[in-house]
């Protein structure tokens, strides 16, 4: 915590609070029937996206998952186009063609949420290879879930990243459930990071609800990648407040689990931590809370007032050129 300035701490809090506020609002909008399609929410996992992405610049890359809104916000994707994308509007990050599950902004190094579990692993190797071949110091973060850790693509990607010494950090967001299936059932390993041993790369498990723990472990792994020392695997153990998708009745959660989530809330924990150490004032944090609400309300207004794409847009962007 010591190495972060007050301004940085406030920015971190703002980013986590923006993610939470965005997700809570999206949940409400979905319930009102305003958002089409499938929506998977990130609330509860904010410390992971922000803990990792606070080490990155726009030149670095991330690959994401179906639960990608938090990664977008942490990587600096603008809120208004994000919200418009969820509505399928022409002002959306992807012109309304991708929606929540495919939200992306390559200008910000956000290589896309993904509808295929484990789809991001090999893609992360690709942006890692580009950086290596071009000799830049860009790193790629591959966010993936505990469910994705059982996909063959993830095993292949981690092995390839290691043998080619690619600047990739594999960040496993272990929220305890692959859809409704608990990690204790679907995963043969005690900790997912144990698998790093098999790929001969550094592996760590940290508390994914503790921003500072994530920030420190990710910082070390990202520094190794930037210095050409190859990939690492960082497992962040946490939880998600919402179901697998909006509409999921969450029968697999018990009241005790949900009560435990609230005790481990990453934003509450961060807030308490910085207040206890007198690093920021409560008024400063409250102001950020209010600003976040306003930012999200503005985004909803922007999205609702935006037009749908013209029908001909259905036929564009399939190829660069096609004749």
């Amino acid at each position: 915590m010591a190495e972060l300035s007050k301004d940085e701490l406030l920015e971190i809090y703002e980013c986590m609070q923006l993610i939470r506020t965005f997700e809570d609002r999206v949940s409400g909008l979905f319930a009102e029937g305003k958002l089409p399609g499938f929506v998977h929410l990130y609330a509860g996992e904010e410390a992971i996206a922000v803990g990792v992405c606070s080490h990155l610049t726009d030149d670095d890359f991330i690959t994401s998952t179906h639960r990608g809104h938090g990664h977008c916000i942490a990587k600096g994707v603008e809120i208004n186009p994000m919200m418009a994308e969820l509505y399928g509007k022409e002002t959306g990050s992807c012109k309304g063609k991708g929606g929540s599950m495919h939200i992306a902004d390559v200008d910000k190094g956000m290589m896309g949420a993904n509808g295929i579990v484990g789809g991001g692993g090999p893609l992360a190797c690709g942006s890692g290879l580009t950086a290596k071949v071009k000799g830049t110091d860009q790193v790629t973060i591959c966010f993936f879930g505990d469910g994705a850790s059982e996909q063959g693509t993830m095993h292949e990607a981690m092995n390839l990243a290691k043998i080619w010494k690619l600047p990739v950090v594999f960040v496993c967001e272990n929220n305890g459930f692959a859809e409704s299936t608990p990690v204790g059932y679907h995963c043969s390993a005690k900790d997912i990071s144990d698998r790093a041993t098999a790929y001969n790369m550094p592996g760590f498990t940290v508390d994914g609800t503790d921003f500072f723990a994530v920030h420190e472990a990710a910082g070390e792994a990202i520094a190794r990648a930037r210095q050409g020392e190859g990939p690492s695997l960082v497992e962040c153990k946490g939880f998600r407040y919402y179901g697998h998708f909006e509409g999921d009745a969450k029968a697999y959660y018990t009241e005790e689990m949900v009560a435990d989530f609230k005790k481990r809330d990453p934003i509450g924990k961060f807030r308490q931590g910085v207040l206890d150490r007198n690093l920021v004032s409560e008024a400063e944090l409250d102001k950020i809370d209010a600003q976040a609400k306003q930012t999200i309300e503005d985004a909803v207004k922007f999205a609702e007032e935006s037009a749908y794409p013209a029908l001909e847009e259905c036929l564009t962007d399939v190829y660069v050129a096609y004749a």
């Binding site: 309304g96 996909q151 794409p309 259905c314």
Partner: protein
């Protein structure tokens, strides 16, 4: 036939339940087909968390237990390959691969293993497996959860492909697929899953390779697949008001394909329109137009038409997705063109 009306989803569920009762080698596996595995308050109580992502397999784990209703990790290659070899060694497994788009992850196991084993082994193996998978646009599920892709599998020798269009067919065809001794990919349109229709309660089997004439007519043959059957029937109803009699044929299985029913129909109507929600290139629409053009050319009074989705992925934005899907109006227009020759 019956007064009882249930949803497409319930019809699938009933076929699975009846087949599992009838034959104890029938097992289910897939992601969250029960859900909540190992949790005290779910599995510990003999319960399920989900019963499949949309609830199609609800209640089956309670009757058949977790030895026969297996939740899998998100490891499609592993569990589809497991299905192939379990079928080759004495079980009759039914796998649920949530969305057809996910076949990309595990294509080798179905393409090089499941579909080719019997041939490569000189006929000394059989692979009596079914993979149930959701297809189709209409739920704003975007580019990686909305494809149809059935021609990909229809193209592959060794695989059979089934695309039911109504609850009663779904039940009978699934029973037929499970009892079939070859690997069958069974495509369930996600919009149809919520629709209702009359379905007999007793067990029954619809054979693979037999098309169904959903409506008889003398002027135009419309061959429609999956959800497009209901669109074709709606168009036919409208056109009947204009005095145009449309014959609507549902192939029901794409491989094997009941060529005879389609050819007999166009020899009667002399006109063909194929309606297919999938992309146009190397498609079922192209295949059916080719069939008729090469086998019944002399009977045709108008050039065959294919109404398909465009050559694009499925867009997310609601108006774009609606534009992507062939509509009742386009079918009506195409029929009028075929009959009046614009």
């Amino acid at each position: 036939m019956t007064d009882r009306t249930i949803t497409f989803m319930e019809a699938i569920n009933e076929a699975l339940r009846q087949e599992m009762r009838r034959d104890e080698t029938v097992i289910l596996m897939g992601e969250d087909v029960a859900g909540g595995a190992t949790l005290d308050h779910i599995e510990g109580q003999g319960e399920e968390a989900w019963g499949g992502v949309l609830g199609v397999t609800k209640g089956l784990v309670q009757e058949f237990g977790r030895n026969r209703v297996l939740d899998t990790p998100i490891s499609e290659s592993a569990f589809i390959g497991t299905t192939v070899a379990a079928a080759a060694t004495g079980l009759r497994p039914v796998a649920e691969l949530m969305f057809v788009d996910f076949f990309g992850v595990c294509m080798d196991q179905i393409f090089n293993q499941g579909g080719k084993l019997r041939y490569m082994f000189g006929g000394k193996a059989q692979v009596p497996m079914v993979v149930r998978t959701m297809i189709g646009a209409g739920l704003r599920a975007a580019g990686q959860h909305s494809g149809c892709h059935y021609p990909v599998f229809t193209h592959m020798p060794g695989l059979k492909t089934v695309v039911p269009s109504c609850p009663a067919d779904a039940k009978g065809l699934l029973a037929g697929a499970i009892r079939d001794n070859d690997p069958v990919i069974f495509f369930e349109h996600k919009v149809l899953l919520f629709g209702e229709g009359p379905v007999p309660e007793e067990e029954y089997v619809l054979p693979l390779g037999v098309a169904d004439v959903k409506r008889e007519g003398s002027d135009v043959t419309v061959v429609a697949i999956g959800r497009m059957v209901s669109f074709a029937l709606e168009a036919a109803e409208q056109l009947a008001g204009d005095g145009i009699e449309v014959e609507v044929i549902d192939p029901r299985t794409l491989s094997p394909l009941d060529e005879g029913t389609i050819l007999d129909s166009v020899k009667k109507t002399h006109r063909l329109i194929v309606v297919d929600e999938d992309n146009p290139r190397c498609s079922m629409a192209a295949d059916l137009v080719s069939l008729v053009s090469t086998q019944a050319f002399d009977y045709m009074d108008a050039q065959p038409q294919a109404l398909t989705a465009p050559h694009t992925p499925v867009p997310f934005s609601p108006p774009l997705e609606d534009f992507y899907i062939p509509s009742v109006d386009t079918i009506v227009e195409a029929v009028k063109t075929a009959v009046n020759g614009s």
